[in-house]
Every structure is written in C-alpha cells, then in structure tokens.
Symmetry: C2
Subunit: 650 residues, 2 copies
C-alpha cells in the first residue's frame, strides 16, 4: 500500500489507512464494533428514517393534549372544551414550520439544521444561540419523553407509581447503552415499535371516531383526580395562551430530520424532505384525533393516569388486550423518542467542535470512545433532571419547547435572509460563491419562499415569547439562564484554541535548539525484581547517565535492596534516601529538585518508573501509581519527562 511515487520524495511516506478497526476496541458490554465505521454504509432509507427521527415528534402527542388540559383545569372543567380549537391552531403552526423546514433540508443537504443555517446566514453569534438552544432541548427531550413513557406504564399499573423515578432513570441508562453501540443497530431495532405505535394509534382514533359518530362513545368512567397548575382563575387570554404554549410541545422533534439529514441515503434532500412531510401528516392526524376524542370522552389531566390511558380504556371498553397495546406502543415510542436526542446530541457537538466551540476530540468519527463522552453526559444530565423534577412531565414541560422554538425562529429567519440574497443574484451567472460550503442558487420563486419562511419565523418567534412569558415562573427561567451560560462556554473554548495556536505557532520561532543535549535518567525503585530490571534496561538504552533511587522506609528492607543490587544492578549508581517517618514521595521530590537546581543548560531529565501491568485491571488499585504522582508534581517543570516502562505480569 506504500505509494512508490511519494515514497521517493523522502522524507514523506503516504499511506492509505486500513479500514479494519483494531480488535482491541471490542468491549463486552457494548458488543463488537460495527463491520465498518464508514459513514456511507451507515445511512438509512426513508422507512427506517421515519422510525428513527419521527419517534420524537410523534411521541409528543402522548403528552401535548394532557399538558393543555392541565393549564385549562385552572379555570375549571368547563374550560376543557378549548382543547380542540387550541389543537387546530397548533396544527396550522405545524404546517407553517414544516414548509420552512422542507426548504431547509433542500438548501442544506449536509445537515445541521438551525446551527448551520444561522451560521451560514447570520454568522457566529446567532449560530451559537441556536446551538445552545438545541443542546438544551436534546437533554429535555430525553427527560420529558422518558417521564411520559413511565407515566403511561404507571397508568396501567398504579402500584408502580412510587417507583416512577427509578424506572425512568433505568430507561435512560438502557437507551444510553443501545446508543453506545452505534446508530445503525438502533435504526433496525426502532422501526418495528415506531410503526406499531402509528398503527395502534390510528386504530384507536378510527374506532373512537366511528363510535363517536355512531353515538356509542361514553364519557370516561372513574376519572382520576384532576390536577391543575397555578391558582384558580377564569378563562382569560393569559390562560388560553398558557395552555397553547403547553400544546406547542406537540411540535418538538419536528426539527430532528433537518439536523440529521446526513444520515439519509442519497438523494439526501429528497429522501429527508419526503420523510419530513410524511411525519408531519401523521403527527397532525394523531394530535387532532386525540384532542377531539379527549374532549368527547371528557378525559381529565392527572399524574396518576394519562389522557392516553383514559382514551384507550374508554374507546376499547376497558383494560383489555387493545388497551395494553396502546399503553405498550405509547411507552415504547416515548422511550425511543429519547433516542433521537442521543443521535442528535453528539452529531451537533461534532459540528460545534469542528468550528472550535466544543472540545476538538468530538470531531473524530469512529472511535466510539469519543462520542461516548457526549452520550454518557447526556444520560447523566437527563437523569438528574428526572430526579429533580420527580419524573413529572407537567413540571418538566416549562423547560422544554423554548429552545425548540428559538431554533425554529433562527433557522427560518436565516432562510429568509438566504432567499433575500439569492433573489438579488443574476439568474444567468449561477451558482456563485463556489468557495462557500452552501453555495447560493438563484431560484425564481425566491420571493414566495422568502415570504413563507419569514412568516414562519415571525409565528414561531411570537410563540417563543408567549412561552417564555407564560411559563417564566414555572421553570422557563432556568433555560433562559442556561442558554447564555452555554454560549459563554462556547466562546471560552474558542478563545482557548485561538490562544493555543498563537502560542505554539512557528512564526518568528527562530532557530530551534540543537538535537544533541545531555540526557540524565533517574529510576526510582522500591524493590529489586523483574519489573525493576526491565525499567533499568530501558533507562540504560536512553542514556549512560543513569541513577537508581531507593527511598528507605525500613532499614531491613533497604539492606535487602542493597544486596540484590550488588547482584543485579550491573554497576549502576544507586542512591538511597532515608525516610524515617515513612514518607515516600517527598524525599524523592526534594532529591529531584536538587538535581534540577544544578542541571546544565539543555540537559533533559527523564524519570523512568517501573509499572506493573497486572492481568486484571482492578489490581491497579493495589499498586501505587508512582508515575501519575510524579507527573502531577513535575508537569509544569520544563525539561523533565516521566516515562512508565510497562512490565506485563500474566
């Protein structure tokens, strides 16, 4: 594989990397690595894409209606009738946003959603706002979806109510493990439950409508105790706006496809766009259907039984097989919805990292190790939220949706600017901006598209404000405080990389120091055994100036070391440091300090530390990690290198 041409241009050798991952990467818990880590092979079709990306949006129907009712309950049960008109308005809003996002997908087939669109059209700062909003929402998607999923289980099995927090955290952990295995396996595993949910919900709504028209649909029997939020009030505009805000959570997850366009098979734009429209239609039907039937059977909001459970047992006349299918389907899709966040979070992080706003390691593909940090962090924060808010969807909702609507607004505003600029292009000379990642094309319908995107941006912007105002006290303030904090972190990271590049730069570096310098090697030993000899052998290879150092805690032990050294030390100098009070590291450090103080110019000191590699990792806890201790103490001293010489014991 060595290219003979480039090899001749010594000193450069150019090679193509092997594609087979190292077998060292296998891990019992996470399974063997995927056959290839090739991005191309990991892409998915429309059917699987719908299952993976739509679960977030569709599953919102499991709680959106109920959250509208919780707010309306503040004005008494008569206000419940407003749930249907509110739902109609939300579905209209959904249509506007989906039209915008379909255009985003075509304009940005390499994915990225709001972050990329804002970055491309507005620049750095608005893009970071979008990124912070999206990251916050990925976390909340996990918390809310899992909490709602567990609420469905609790509806069917009320005896589990007290354990809902524990069950929720367990599910977060479970999805985390699935995601640590890789996205393709998730896709296959998630297709069946997603389609099962769509089928069972359509069946329930169909039968419900049929019975409603036939007049045989009763109202819900034994409704649970009604729960409401805030003080009792009349039917005010504020109340209706507040209820509307809660209902907009039905739209969360719509942006998932535009963020993950790269996961689709080519032609990406077309495949992703069609999937988006399909998803929106199903979402609209389910949401309207559930809201209509909820009003019809007079379901009530409660932590003890979800509206979905009340619907299912009323429509199917009790808690039989079909009822359990609805609960099962809803629970599973909610739990899988959290998966969308687990796929999207590291993907967005990688985008941010490649722009220098998150740790650079996140850009490397393939080594699961790196993405894993993001996945574990997401699971940890989502679990913490679940614990703090006691797995209550109603208490989590005020934190949700602001971020989504902020990103909706930024993405659509960005698109508006894009159409405006593209409309000014000369239709004959297109595409221009070849050097841009997302070249502008002239589009003869640019004005219509600009208007539609602009209208969408204004609508979602207003919703965001309504949400922030009506839910500020309930918890929205947390998100409003968190988003700027995230942006500060992004900028701080960016500045660090800039400073680093400056400091390390070879501009004006001048002539580097020569290669030939003095090299002194120190070998701290606690005993004379095979590991010590391996370290000594390595030290003698580095330099002829080798000093072994023994810290003497017990005179009897030291005599043994001295005797053994006579046999095995082969004339290497051994310094013995007395330590009557059983100090170990301090005498070593002060001796090293002394050597450092008297060293010559350009003298490098290497400390070679023997390191046992036991057969079982856990045994490491039983050995002093001397190299680690010395490294911590001497890291900031120039010209000192600490080397562990591993000695395998097996």
């Amino acid at each position: 594989m060595i290219d003979p041409k480039t090899q001749q241009e010594s000193p450069f050798i150019h090679r193509t990397a092997e594609e087979k991952p190292s077998p060292n990467f296998k891990d019992f818990l996470l399974g063997r690595p995927l056959p290839t880590a090739d991005a191309e092979h990991e892409t998915i079709g429309k059917a699987v894409g719908l299952a993976v990306f739509a679960s977030d949006a569709l599953s919102s129907t499991a709680y959106a209606t109920q959250e509208v009712l919780v707010i309306l309950a503040g004005a008494g049960t008569l206000a419940f009738g407003y749930v249907f008109p509110i739902s109609i308005v939300i579905v209209a809003l959904l249509a506007i946003v989906v039209i915008s996002y379909e255009q985003i997908i075509h304009a940005y087939p390499n994915g990225g959603g709001a972050y990329i669109v804002a970055s491309d059209n507005f620049g750095k700062f608005p893009a970071l706002v979008a990124a912070a909003a999206l990251l916050t929402d990925y976390i909340l998607t996990v918390s809310v979806s899992i909490s709602s999923g567990v609420a469905q289980i609790v509806s069917a099995y009320p005896e589990l109510f007290d354990y809902r927090v524990g069950i929720s955290v367990f599910f977060v952990f479970f999805i985390m493990l699935i995601n640590l295995r890789g996205v393709r396996e998730s896709g296959a595993a998630f297709a069946i439950p997603s389609y099962f949910f769509i089928a069972i919900m359509l069946l329930m709504i169909g039968i419900g409508l049929f019975r409603m028209i036939g007049g045989s649909l009763s109202i819900v029997s034994n409704p649970p105790e009604i729960e409401s939020v805030g003080e009792l009030t009349g039917i005010t505009a504020f109340l209706l706006l507040h209820a509307f805000s809660s209902g907009t959570t039905a739209m969360t997850g719509v942006e998932a496809i535009s963020n993950g366009t790269t996961a689709f098979k080519e032609p990406r734009g077309r495949n992703a766009g069609i999937t988006l429209i399909w998803m929106a239609c199903i979402l609209g039907v389910l949401f309207i259907g559930i809201s209509l039937l909820t009003r019809e059977i007079r379901a009530v909001p409660s932590e003890l039984e979800t509206v979905i459970s009340q619907l299912a047992r009323t429509i199917f006349n009790g808690q039989g097989f079909l009822y359990l299918c609805v609960i099962l389907g809803t629970t599973v899709i909610l739990i899988l919805a959290a998966n969308t966040a687990f796929a999207g979070f590291p993907r967005l992080s990688a985008l941010l990292a490649s722009d220098g706003f998150m740790p650079r390691q996140l850009t490397y593909r393939g080594s699961r190790l790196v993405y894993s940090y993001g996945i574990v962090a997401l699971a940890a924060v989502a679990s913490a939220l679940i614990i703090v808010f006691q797995a209550s969807v109603t208490r989590l909702i005020p934190l949700y949706a602001i971020g989504v609507f902020l990103s909706f607004t930024l993405a659509q505003a960005g698109m508006t600017r894009r159409w405006w600029r593209s409309g000014k292009l000369d239709p004959a000379r297109q595409p221009i901006d070849h050097d841009r990642a997302h070249p502008l094309h002239y589009d003869k319908r640019w004005f219509l598209k600009m208007i539609s995107n602009g209208f969408g941006a204004v609508c979602t912007g207003i919703v965001m404000l309504v949400f922030a105002v009506t839910k500020f006290e309930d918890g929205a303030w947390i998100v409003l405080a968190l988003t700027p904090a995230l942006i500060v972190i992004f900028l701080w990271i960016h500045r660090h990389y800039g400073t680093m590049a400056n400091r390390l730069s070879l501009e004006n570096y001048g002539e580097p120091p020569p290669y030939n310098v003095r090299h002194r090697v120190l070998v701290p030993i606690s005993n004379v055994h095979q590991g010590t000899l391996a370290a000594l052998r390595y030290a003698r290879m580095l330099s002829d100036d080798v000093t072994a150092i023994h810290v003497s805690l017990e005179p009897a032990d030291t005599d043994k070391v001295r005797k053994k050294w006579e046999t095995w030390g082969r004339g290497t100098r051994l310094v013995i440091l007395d330590s009557p009070y059983r100090l170990f590291v301090e005498p070593l450090l002060s001796y090293i300090d002394e050597i450092l103080a008297s060293r010559q110019a350009n003298e490098t000191i290497t400390i070679v530390v023997p390191h046992f590699v036991p057969a079982l990792k856990i045994h490491n806890a039983l050995h002093m990690q001397m190299a680690e201790v010395l490294r911590r103490e001497l890291l900031s001293t120039p010209g000192v290198v600490i080397t562990e010489v591993p000695y395998q014991i097996s």
Copy 2:
C-alpha cells in the same frame, strides 16, 4: 548530607531525606501542609486526647436513652419506667469492658485495639473479622452521630425538619475537609467543644437532680407525638432485651482510645489508660443521669424532638439561653464524634495495609494524597447511609453496635488467651519471645486478669448475639452480610500481593537480556508547531531511528503539514496515513501493529507523544489525551513504551 563512608562503597550513595515537605503539595482548599509530618510531633496529651477520642463515646448519651424508649414504646408508655434499670445494667457492662480495655492499652501500647490483639493471640482470620467489624463501625459512627446531631438542631428549630438529610450531608462534608488537613489541628479545634459539652450536661443533670429532690421538677410539657418500632406488644423478655440492645449503643466509642494509643504522648500506656478511665466515669454519670431524669419528666421518643431537648427545656423551664447551650453543645459534640471515625478509619487501614490486606499505598505516611482516599471514601459511604436511612437515628441504630461488640468480644477473648499463656511462663526467665512485636511478660496477677477479661468477653459476646437476634430484621442483617464480604476482599488483596511477589521474583530468573538493543521511536503528530518540535527533539535524543506519523483527516491540512515539515522536520522521516472517514486512532494503531509484527528480536519501540501543558488544568479537557488513548490500547503489548513530552504553554 552524603555519608562519605557509604559513598565509597560505590555504586551506593546513602542520604538522609530532607524533612521539609515540597511546597508543591500545598492546596488552596486544604491549607498549607503541617510544619513537619513527623509522627512524634503529632502526639497529644491526656486533656486533648479526652476531647478527641472521648467525643465518640460521650456523644452516645445523646441518643442511647432515646433509642431504649423507642423500643419500650412498643409496649405503651407504662413500659418507659424500665429505662432506668436497663441503664444500670448497661453501665455495669461498661465497667467490665473498660477494665478489659485498660489492660489492652497497657499490653499493646503501640495501638491497634481489637485487630492487633486478635492478630497477636488468634492469628490472621479472627483479626480480619475484628478489622471488618471496626471498619463497618467507623462508617456507622459517622452516619449515626451526624444524624443525631442534626436531630438536636431540628428539635430546637422544627422548621428545618424537612432539610435534615441535606444538613447532615453538609456536616459530613465539613468534617471531611477538617480531617484532610491533619489530626493535630483537629485536636486543638475539638478540645473546647468537648469540655463545653461535659460542663453543660453536668450542669443540666445537676440542676435536674436538685429540682427532682426538691420536688419542683415538672413533667415535660407539650410532648411530641410518640414513636415506636415494630408491632404493639406486652412487656416481654424479648422487648426488654431489644430495648437493652439499643441502649448498648451508649458504649460505642469506648474502644477508640485503644485503637489510637499511638496518638498519645509518652508514657503512652499510662496516659491512654487514665484517659480511658476518666472517659468511662464521665460517660457513666451522664448516661445514668439522663436516663433517670428522662423517666422523671416522662420524656417520650420522637423524630421531631429529641429526649435531650425535652430534658433541657423541662429542667431549664423553657427554651432560653441554657436550653440553647445544651442543644449547641450536644450537636457540636455529636458532629465532632464523627471525627473519631475519620481519625480511626485511616489508622486501621494503614495497619491492614502493612499486613498486605489493604492497598499498600495506605501505609505511607505524610503524603496526604494517600490517606485522603480513605477519608473521602468514608465520607461518601456515610453520606450514602444518611440519605438511604433519611438521617433517622432509629433506623440506623440496628446496623450499629454489632461491629463494636464483635470487636469487644474478640479483643477480650484475645487478652484472655494472652494471660493464659503468660501464666505458663517461668517467672524467672522473662520477658521471652524477644522477636515478637508484643513480648509476653509473666504477671503474678495473670489469673485474676484472665478471669476479668474472660468474663468481659462472655458478656459482650452474649450482648452481640442478643443484638443480632433482636435487631436482625431491622437491619442488622446488612452488617452480618457485609462483614464476610469485607473479609473476602481482604483475603483477595492478600492473595494478589503474594502472587505478584512470586511472579516478579528474581529467584530462578537466570541471565537478564543484554542492555544494547535496537530502539525505534515513533512520533504521532497532528500538526507542526512548537510542541511537535519539542517532542521530535526528545525523540532524536533517544534514538536515530525516528519516524513521525501524521493521520490525514483533511487533504488541505496535510499539505500544510508536509510543507512545514520540509522546513522544520530536519530530514526526519514522516509517514502520512490517509483517513478519509475522519478516523484518528485506528489508522495509527494499525500502522503500529504492522511495525510490531515485523520488529526484530529485542527491539524496543517508544512512542513519543507531544503533550501540551496548559496554564489552567481545565483546558486539558479541550485536548485529545493521545498518550492516554495509546497507553490503554498498547499497555499489554510487551516492549512498547509510551512517553509524553510535556510542553509548557504559559
């Protein structure tokens, strides 16, 4: 400081370590290190010793009486009268145990208590049982004392009741920090509160008795709601034994002095013994006094108000200044009692470690780093128990005391065996067993001492059985399961050290390989900058056979690297590995694998990795720790050494 005599015996140089600790060890949170870490200077006198070691035992009086009442409440309030006779029995038991321990202190002035005594007289296994019991009890001392301390606060300020768990965990954290600073400062800080507690309690009991005799002592007004444990029953033998078991918690902490004898000034045995007797007398007076007055004022057990609080407000006629002094004194001594465990836990761990039953690092004195792990671990486990048991003393008590009484029994049984053996010695030829750490002496009163220790062992053994049986269901089973688990861990660690020593031994090792071997050096670089050049310079010092490796993620970046290398690489070979899918570690690893496969006999490969040392530690998170990743992958490959070359950026 170099000894001229030993230096002549080249290659040995013998030096005395400097005593000044390295200034690197200072830490903002934990303060500067103590002036010397010399064990001799850290010892304490009788007065401070009483404050440090007796706080555990004396503070037990804050909850022991109440825990007797909780059990008696199971038979109704009439049963409360039994609290006084039960207390008398417990004080008699205390006297027996103290007589035994006074003898232990004289026989084993180097400290160690039950572990040393059992080890010296019975051998390994019984000693490990004692050690496991003591370690368990150190943890519970922290949990119970802190929980009881916070219960006192809650008695005075009932509005804090809901925050008791959080407050408790805060206090554990606080004591942890104090202990991370070192024991001497603890001693000075703890003397005043301990003596304040003794004084204020004696005052309260004195006034209480005076008013009782004078007939002016009323019963408690507005008593809190009575709490009881278990089902309602009559006054049965089981109930009385159960109540007695709870009361024996008054004796916890008596063993602390014998475990920590080494902390006392010389003559250790005498100083520690006198302190023990003083402590026992104070403990007896306080416990009897509190129990008598509790019966007199008809105090009741409750989570909402402690018995101490009921006593104080009845005796001092309301919640005035003296009441607050009692609450404050009790709270502080309980919180400080936890400190005994923080001093004892690492001390016992070090003993176990030097015998090879715990990680060896624990034997090194001085470097706080090492003891710190034990202190932090103790705080973590104690906090976890507080959270699980909701800071309820009544729920924690069943886990307590079993371990204490197990160690009482083993220590006294060991002493019995010791007297039996010493009695068989020839009075003329003493001491014998010069090579033993604790030589036997003939004692003409050996028979009397044997009988007193033996009687103590039988008594505490019976109490332990009573405790285990009556409290098995309440939680004692946890300790009965945990103790064997700890012993298994001790034995597992011991076996590991044995195996290691065998494997590393130089017996039958034969002739070691020669020093002169081939050395090949690889330098993975992601860019060409000052850090890269520092690593390259180091690599060229190690060997002439140096290969730099660049993984090419973006062709444009690679061209830059290639150009810079022409200027700065000074002819060193550069291998470029293509990685179209942005894999980073895998191409590197497979290239290294290839080199390893074709290496010659005795060829060592060193991978030199540039390592930025940023000014702020937190910046490390923003850089790929390549050396760590490679180390993890290549640790088990013989003949590969990974070296980081630190490059300080400041």
